[in-house]
Structure formats: structure tokens, C-alpha cells
Assembly symmetry: D2
């Protein structure tokens, strides 16, 4: 694995490295960790990389690695840069024969996303997008239960994602994480809706197996001076007639990272909270509530395949993230042997990336409109 971005002070780069390493299947062999060469070299040194495998920029990395013997060169790149720098290295890596795993959202705008889809299709490289929350075993379990009709027809989906870390005008103080996320030149057109709203929308579609067909959005920027939205409330219509709500916020002072989802069908409902990810609440008409727990009882195979430890040994955010990497590595390994590609070992790809970019653009369009409903289509 070669990493693009994720140098000193970055949060998500370290996450990707830990997630990649955990299962003893992926090794970080090179990197271009920063847009400035010195920072890249300093970061590489901290990561125990040999000097000749740390590069001044991603273009150099892709070109030089390509020239190394196959057994030595990186197999894929991991892109962990701000949003505006997802597309250029992804395109270049794919076109030079490297697989790509990329942080979300897919790109700076929808146009890039669609172009990237074509590149992936043409190059036939493996492409993964780290909508990491779909890597949790209990998210897999929820999806399978719905596929299995445990809830009956789905009627309602409520997904919420409150955070509080942007409650104040912290980007003015130079806080690194907030700086690019609140800058439309780097983040794209969406603020909270891009950073976390896309996770929420992805989770809703992944678990329900449905698509969001129409929305009615109300975006707000609560912090004076901020350039992008920091709060969103959205009504949802799904393609099967189900209704729903998505709300996300980065100004809910005191909230941590409280992504949660409730989904209701004719026969029962499910509730999942990212902050207690090893439990899945299952309610049914006229039945006692059940708490499904990783490792306990009769869960679906796909759930167990994404669980590393026995019951009562909590797994968390990194383990879910590592499931995306592990499945991505599996797909690379068996790329040319479709018989060995297992359906259960799924991961978000360019399709989910386009859905996300479409969601951002339509939410912004809806929020500006006096019309109640805006369709989600290209």
C-alpha cells in the first residue's frame, strides 16, 4: 500500500494505516504524505519507511513505483487527502495500473464522480470508497435481516448524525481538521452534508436496500462567518414508498459522533448506534425486544465474517474500517478469479460514491428551492 496524504497532524490518515495493518495482510510500503515535500519526508520517517519510498508528491510516487519490480512495488494507493484532491490522484493511479481505495466523499463534485466511474470501468482496477460505517458487523446484520424480510415492507427510516465539534468558529483559529472541511475550495459544495450527511445517506441506503428518490432539505449555517452548511434537516422519500428523515449537524454542542439509524417495517424495527456498535436492537410487533450482539446466537454468516472476536470482546471503529480494507484486499487478490470473490465480502465502490455526490448536489438544490420535493436523479 502506498498512501497519498495523511501526514503529520492528519486524523484520517492514521486511521487508514491502523485499519490496513490490523489483519496482517497489508503493509505500508511507500507514501506521498503531504502537499509539501518536507512534510512528506518527515512523516515517512516517523512511519519507519525507507527514505527512497517516501515521495515529494503523488505524481512522483505513482510514476516511480510503477517502475519498480512487481513484487516490490505498491499494489494499491490509499487516498486520504481533502476532498478536492481525491480525483486527480485516483485518476492517475487507476490509469497507471494501481488499485485505489479512497476516502469519502468520492470527489469534489458530481461531474468528477461520473468521470471516475468511467475510468474505473475502463481500467478494470479495483476501487473502494471508505464509507467505513458499512464495515460494522451489526450493519451487515441489519442489511441481511431486511433482505431476509424480517421487518416486512419498509415504511420508515430515521437516520441521524449529530456532532458538536464545529459548534464554534474553530476554523478561524486554524484548527486543521476544520480548516479544509469548511472551505468550499477544498471541501466542495457541502459542509456537514458532505462530511457526515453522505455517511448517513449511505448507511440508510445500504441497510434498507432502498434508494432515496426525493428529498426536501433545510440546510443551515449556524456559526456566523462559516462558508458552508453546518446543519441539515431533510425529509426523505424512498423508491419503494417508504418515508424518512435524515438530519446531521456539526454544531450540536456536546455531541460526539452519534450516527444512528432506526428502520421500521410492517413487522418490526431495528435500531443501531455507532457509538455502541456491537449491539443491534430488534423490535417486533407483540414480542419482547431483542438485543442482537456480535458473536451471540444465530446471526447471518456475513455478520460473523466481519467479526474477529468472541462475544463480549468489543470491536470498534478501527475494526469496522479494517473490514473495508480486508475486503478490498480480498477483491484485489481474487480479481481475476471471480469464483473466489465472495458476495459477503462487499465494500463501497464508485457507485456509492456517485450516490453520495448526487445527494450533496440535490440537497443543496432542494435547500435553496421553495418547491417541496426535489428528485434524486442524474
Amino acid at each position: 500500500m502506498g498512501m497519498i496524504g495523511g501526514g503529520q497532524g492528519a486524523f484520517i490518515g492514521a486511521v487508514h494505516r491502523m485499519a490496513a495493518a490490523m489483519d496482517n495482510q497489508i503493509e505500508l510500503v511507500c507514501g506521498a504524505f503531504s502537499s509539501t515535500a518536507e512534510k512528506s519526508f518527515a512523516s515517512g520517517k516517523e512511519l519507519f519507511l525507507p527514505e527512497n519510498r517516501v515521495y515529494a508528491n503523488y505524481e512522483e510516487m505513482i510514476l516511480k513505483e510503477k517502475q519498480l519490480p512487481e513484487s516490490e512495488r505498491m499494489d494499491f494507493v490509499s487516498i486520504v487527502t481533502p476532498n478536492h484532491m481525491h480525483f486527480p490522484p485516483a485518476k492517475m493511479a487507476l490509469e497507471n495500473g494501481f488499485h485505489v481505495i479512497c476516502d469519502k466523499p468520492l470527489s469534489f463534485n458530481l461531474k468528477q464522480a461520473i468521470e471516475l466511474k468511467d475510468i474505473v470501468n475502463q481500467t478494470k482496477q479495483v476501487f473502494a470508497l471508505t464509507h467505513n460505517y458499512t464495515g460494522y458487523p451489526m450493519v451487515k446484520q441489519a442489511r441481511e435481516m431486511i433482505k431476509n424480510n424480517n421487518l416486512g415492507n419498509i415504511r420508515k427510516v430515521v437516520v441521524e448524525y449529530p456532532q458538536g465539534w464545529l459548534s464554534d468558529f474553530v476554523e478561524q483559529t486554524g484548527q486543521k481538521q476544520s480548516l479544509w472541511r469548511t472551505d468550499p475550495e477544498k471541501s466542495g459544495a457541502g459542509g456537514s452534508i458532505g462530511d457526515i450527511g453522505t455517511h448517513a445517506a449511505n448507511l440508510a441506503e445500504y441497510i434498507s436496500g432502498l434508494e432515496i428518490a426525493e428529498i426536501c432539505a433545510d440546510l443551515t449555517t449556524f456559526v456566523e462567518g462559516r462558508q458552508l452548511d453546518d446543519d441539515a434537516n431533510i425529509l426523505l422519500h424512498f423508491n419503494n414508498g417508504a418515508k424518512g428523515i435524515l438530519h446531521c449537524s456539526q454544531v450540536c454542542a456536546g455531541e460526539e459522533n452519534a450516527l444512528s439509524l432506526k428502520i421500521y417495517g410492517e413487522k418490526g424495527g431495528l435500531e443501531w448506534h455507532q457509538q455502541e456498535p456491537n449491539s443491534l436492537v430488534y423490535i417486533q410487533k407483540d414480542e419482547s425486544k431483542q438485543i442482537l450482539r456480535t458473536g451471540v446466537g444465530n446471526l447471518f454468516d456475513i455478520t460473523n465474517q466481519h467479526t474477529r472476536l468472541p462475544a463480549g470482546h468489543p470491536e470498534g471503529y478501527l475494526e469496522a474500517f479494517a473490514n473495508i480494507y480486508r475486503n478490498f484486499a480480498h477483491a484485489i487478490r481474487h480479481k481475476d478469479d471471480p469464483a473466489k470473490l465472495e458476495e459477503n465480502l462487499d465494500f463501497p465502490s464508485v457507485y456509492e460514491g456517485i450516490r453520495g455526490m448526487l445527494f450533496i448536489e440535490k440537497v443543496i438544490e432542494s435547500s435553496k428551492s421553495d418547491k417541496k420535493w426535489t428528485k434524486i436523479d442524474v
Copy 2:
């Protein structure tokens, strides 16, 4: 106390009787418990009432009780009939010199609500509406904390009220509770939005101290054949600029009575769940989460005045309901001595009733409209 409605098989009548009795201050002395005389007499007998104080209908009760000596006759009526039968007995009781406590929503429609306000103002009788959830001590605590600016300016309110008991077409089976609630002739224009949505809206306004100024509503009837809505998703704009979401449903299969509220301001947030009512979650920017508990630590006076028991002795739905009755009785007792009326001993009145009827009518209007925002005003 004389009761109108609440005969055999009714749910809410028994609740009112237990709530009224709990504090040893109010005695049930008479009743007209049903629209049929025999049922009324049978119910009165079960309740140990003397035969001559059980009446065939509410008109008879009001007229005959009026003729009894003051020390003997009922002081007030408690109206626990279906919605369409709130206004007529309330009007007659008030005009004949009796105070009134009435179940919610206030009336069959907004027009009646406004007329009732005028009658209350003219007769100067005490009038209470049992939006009972505002009787919980931790709801009082939340309201006071917000008044006290613990959260700073309010940015966001999320109130939800999922139930599951109407997931199927139970009114077709003759189930008594569902029968009138799903019948527009008895329930009024709102289904779930009237039965529980008004509780949610009332709670949001009571705790926040704000008014809902604009809404964008999406009502659904999921159960085929049902005449009224059974699900509602609504975007909210408050009069201070805060945003919010209200959703309620009676078709979330497996949910019990899961009213909850989250409210966020610049400095922190609060979270309250009716099903665990003795806890109030208090989060703050860069501080550890706190769980405020009834009876523990430095709570507001108003909170403690609505708590009967020491810490760790859970109080529930009936105790909150009894707080409404106790405060109503206090207001009657000190009606002519304003010095003894305590601000803390508040209860919902005709104002909250009008807000509720207005909310129902505007939600229905909004739901039918293609326009995004509908103002909440008379």
C-alpha cells in the same frame, strides 16, 4: 371531581382517576361515564360511587350537581371523552360554574378551541388540558435550564414520538382505543398528528420556551383502509431562528410509547426519554456528559416540587399526570388569592390547547401543499 366519560374499557379515564387520587387531595364524587346510561351506571357502581351520584349523561350531571349544596357538589369536571365530545361538556360545565380539566387535544377543530378560550376568559373558571408529559420533573428541569441559559441560544430541536400499536388495521377488528382515534367524525382531522403529534409539539414548545413558526409536513397513511394519517415527518422553524424536526408515528411496529426530545444550543444539549423519565442527559462542549436524576444534586426548585420520592425511587407516567391534577387543584384552591398561586405549579391550559389545534390544521395544510413552508398562525 365529577368525571365525564371514562367508563368500562376506557384507558384514559382510569389514568385520570388514579392521577387525581394519588395525592389524597381530590375525590371522585360523581360521574357520567358513558354515552349510554346503563354503561354509566355500571361503571359508577364498579367505582364504589353512590347511585344518586351516577348520571345518565353529562348534561344531567352538570345540572343536578349545581343544585347540591356547595360543600357536597363536585368542584370540577374531568373530561375524558373522545375528541369530538370535549367541547360541548367543557362549555356547559364552565358556563354553569364548574372548573374543567380536559384531555387533549382541546377540541374537534380550531374553531371550537378559539370559542372555548373566550368562554374560559368570560367565566373565569380554571381550565387545564392534560398534556401530561409536561408534568414530569425532568421536563420541568429541562425547561428551567434553558430559561437559565445553560445551553445558550437554541439552535436545534429534535422531537420524536414513535408508537407501533396501529401497525395493523386494528380498527377493523373493533379494538376500542383505535376505533374513535381513526375515525374523522370523532377524532377530528388529525390521526397520529392529533393523538400524539400534539404532545410532541407541545413538549418541544414547553421545554424550549419557543414557538414553532413554520413547518414543512409530510403525512402518510401506511395502513390501507385507514381514514386518517398514521405517520408524520415534519421540518420545523422556530420563532428564534432555531431549526428542528418532529416525527411521530403509530405504525412503527414494535415501538411502545417512545416520546423523546433532544435540544441543542450554542453551549450544550439536553436529551430526555419518556420511557426513562427520571433521567435527563446533559451534554456540554468539552465537558463530560452528565445524567441529571430526580432527587440528586442541585436541581431547580420547580423540579423538586414535582418529585415525590427520594432519589432512586422511580416515578412514572401516573406521577407526572398527577402533577397536572395537583397543580390544577392548587389553582382552584387559591383562585381568589393570587398571592398564593405559585408560578412553579403551572399546568397546560387553553392557550396550549389552541396551539395544538392550530398545529394539527397547519400540518394537514402543509402536507397537502407543494409549497415548502407553511406558517403557523391563526
Copy 3:
């Protein structure tokens, strides 16, 4: 109902009055509320009692009420005095033809308890002891599940009851509740073990259907100057070979009233927390955890008979307490018609009272002994 004790400033007297009133079946008609006549009269006035039904002392009350016409006089006495004043009024009331409901523990010492049993047997009056925690519907459910062999043979019982309100030497400040509870002249030989340990032991035996056969106790007085134990750790052997632990404390600073019980058998386990009483956690080998909730699903009849409200309308301490009163009233009403006495409407009686006094005495004996095990027998 005539009350003995429970005057101004008392906690448990008010609880008994609310519990008795709740179901509209029991009326407070007279009382001797204090050991001083003035306080008794002042308390009676506050409770809206007519002057001639408030008595200077319990002897006067029992004798004068006995002379009233049967339709007018009290049916039973409720004894809510400190422990040393349970036996004398109970004995006198029973011997003068009144039924008795008495707070726990039964008496000042075991000798009195045994004598009281004989009096109850001779007078054939109804006697109830308010081990109120057994009135919770989910405690009934747990007991029935174990009777029904849902857990298989019971292996282990862990019951704990930490409180924190005696963490400091509050009895020195004159705090009324602590004053008599820490005074061996009034409380008897047990401190925490008598006040709350007996509740814990009663709950363990009630739910398990077993008897504690042997104990190994370690009592401590942590607060310097205190005369009685304020903390207890005890190993248990049950009469079926099950093992267990009981610990209680009144010096766990910050704890409220955290009575809880876990019980494990060959096939599964149950967990109940008094502070969230409407839930019962049910675990089974290789099955998902279940949360049984009052009003939800297929519970035992006895559970539903002790539940007043639909699912999601929380009931608490007073409702459980009221269940004891309601069942006691039922037993009085049908005293002479055994066919109408329902097995489900049970309540703790003099047998449980003797078990409690025996437990206190044996715990103290064990704690002083170097011997590991002390048998629980008379």
C-alpha cells in the same frame, strides 16, 4: 385505613398513603400519626381528616375505632413507625379485630416476630408486610419464569443494594430518617442489613423460590461514631445447592437506591434493576439477549395483573407499593370466601417477616464469628 406513625417529616408514611390511595379502593379515615399528641393532630389536619378521627396515640385509636359502627370504623391499620414500634401496635390491632399492614422489618427482634406469627395465626386477621419491591410486575415475571423452569436449575444469585445517603455521619446533624435507623434502641440489631439487606434477601428468595440456607457475612461500620453496620458483604448458600452473593451498603457515596438482582441457571439468566423497573433482561445460552418490558408480548398473567398501564407508560415505586396494598385489600375483602382469593394476588406476610428477622440475627452472628458458614435456621 387508620395509620399509625407517618406524621410530618416522615418519608415512608406519605408513601403508604399514596400507595393506598392510588387505586381508589382504600380511604384514609383516621390516624395516630406521632408519639406526641400535638404532632398527631397537626398531621391529621394537613391530611384533611376530621378532628374526631385523629388520635393522640395508637392505643386510643384502636379502642375508639372499635366502638364505632362497622360501616364507619377503619378496616385495618397501617403501621409506619420505626422498627421498635412495629410489634406493640400490630399485636394490639390484631387482638382487637383489625387487619394489619406493617412496614418492614417485621419487628425489633426475632423473638417478637415469632410471637407475632402466633398472634396472626390465632386472630386469623390478614397481615401484610411491605416488602414493596416484590410488588413490581417484572419481579413477578422473573419469579414465574423461574417457576416455569425457563432458566433450568438455579446455580447462582447475585443481589446487591448500594445506597449512599449515610456516607457521612448525618445522624449527628439530627437528620430525621437517619436518626432512628442508626439507633440500636429503635432500629434493632441491624443497621444497613436490617434497613435494606432484608429487602435484598427477601427479593432473592422471592424471585428464586429458594431459601438461603447458610451465610458467611462481613459487616462493617465505615462511618466513625456510627452505632450500627452501614455495609455488608455476604456469601450465600441456597437450599438447592445454588451459590450467591448479597451485598448492601448505605455508604456507597453517590449511589441512589440501586437494588438489583442477577440470577443464573443452567439454561440462562435474568437481570433486574429497581431503578429501571419496567425492564427485565433475559439471557439464554446461544440466543440473543431479550429485554422483557411491562405490557409487551407474551408475559405471565401475574405480571399483567400487576401492571396498570399500556407498554411504554412507565410505572414506578409507588405503583409497585400500591400493588401490595391492592392485594392486601383484595385479601381482606375475600377473607371469608377462599374461592375468590387469587393465587396471583400474593403479598409478603408474617412468614417473610420471620425470614427477615432471622436473616438479620444470623448475619450479625456470622459476622462476629471466625467460622466460615452459619446456618439460617431458628
Copy 4:
């Protein structure tokens, strides 16, 4: 790192490998994964190790690795064999100049533990024992709060560790994990008390900063035919006068891995549950309950140093385990530069190992004795 044990089918070997890899600081370079050579080679192949670094047994591994150039050979061994095979490879590795990290309990018996302490002292190699639960950030936080006197003098410690996976006679079915754990030839004299009781005792001593001075133990073997205890209830006396309870069980049918600890002092208490490890409940006299959360608010430095992710990104069992490995690696790296050894980066060592073996032996002695108290001393 070279691994001893942990071949195919082993649970704890995989855990050690994931924990070691997570922080990108430790690489698995060789192993002797099984007591049979073929299994060792097969396991090494699965782990992508070169053939020449997989050994038939640990003796061969230690001797051959020693002959490799320093830059190439393993730095330390990780011992993940059953208990009876801890001491021999640990001794040999230490005496041949390798650092050692070893699973718990330290050894087969106390005698070996004491001998190992001498070897560690003589060889001056770094030795770590994976009492992994002390690696959780909130366990560190609890320990620091107590050091910091937040609770005042400690009065009571309640530690419990129920599991259910040995509820049946599974060792008879050949289930690998149970086989050696229930075999006194491999596990040593303790069953549940060695496997999980030592974790509980270690956690109690680590968090409290106290030592268990005296015990009164009641061991049971519930499953017929089993050779070792599967349940333990123990009264504790600590060296400061605090009292406590430790109970553990592997036959609590339906329990997962429910290690938890409550600790109370004069001013307040703490509660921690391994299954929700990112929260620490903090109660205080007359104050609202607090839920301390990793990453939120003003935690101790040591807590933050053991947290990888921002608030609301749950870390679990592997991350806590990895903290032990990371601190062990830090100690190796700075072994000769005490100035760089940070006090905060502690890990359990041979001292805790001896405490554990002593605990096992004394619990067994106490359980067999009629005497109430047994001292914990060598």
C-alpha cells in the same frame, strides 16, 4: 516479534498478532506456532511468513534466531501457549537475550512465578504480562482519579466477571478453548479463578492502587465431570481496610464477557464495564452522575495517551490489548535510556504475575478451609 503458540484454531494468538500489528510498530517475523511441527509450518504459511522463519518448536526458534544478525532477528517473543507452557519458553528466551511478552496467568504455579521473577531481574530483559484489561483508557482514567483522591479513602470494591461459555460440559466434545482450560495438567490448579478471576483481581488492584490482603473464598464446580472450579464467590479485605467482593463464573449461561468493576470511596464512586469500555461512570455525593467518555473533556494525560481516536469513535478490546504491546515496545526501545521511559506507558509485569499466582493458590486454600479468612502473602 517471534510468536510461541497461537497456531490454527487458537483464539488468543490471533488477538496478540492483531494487537501487535495495529500501531505499525511491531512486525511478526518468525514463530513456533504449535507443539507439532506440521501445524507450526501450516500456521506460518497462512501468516505469510517465509519458510525459514517458521520453526518446529520454540527451542529451535530461540536458538536459531539468536544466531541471526541483530538487525534481522526477532526482538522479543510473544508467548501465547496454554498456562503450563508459559514458564519454559519464557525462561529460555530471557536467558538467551530476548525480551518476553506472555499471556496470563504468569505460570503453572506460584513456584515458577517466583523463579521467573528472579530470571527477569537477573537478565534485565523487559517482561510484560498481558493483563490486557488494564490497557483500556478508561481503566487508566479510573486509576488516576483514585490516585488523585477524587473518591477520597476507598471503602468498597466490587469486581465481577461472569461468562457463560462453559455452562455445559463442552470439554467433553473436544472444544479446543475449553479443553486445556479445564485440564489441571495444563491450566494449573485454578479453573475460572485462574482464567478470569486473575483478571478481575488484577483489575481491582490496578484501579484501586490497593492490595488484596485477606480473602474468604467459595469455589464451586457446577458442571458435573469438570475437573476444575467454574465459579467463584470471594469476600475481600484490602490492605487499607477497604472491603470488597470478587465473583467470577464461566457457567452464567448467556453471559458474554461481562467484566465490570465498581469502586466506592468517601466522596464518590466509579463504575466501569468492559463491554462498554469507552464510558466510565462517575458518581459523587449530592452531585449529578457523570459519564466520562474517551476523548471528551478534561481527562488525565495517561488516558489520552492510550486513546487513538477522537470522541465517539469507539475503541475496543484489540485497541486496549494493543496498548500493552505499544507500551512494551516503547520500554524495549528506551530500555537503556531511563529518561525516555514514561511513567504513563506502564504495562503489567512479573510483579502482577506473582500477585495472580498467589491469588489462585490462596483462593483454593481458602475455599477448602473452614476458617473464614486467609491471608494473601507468600
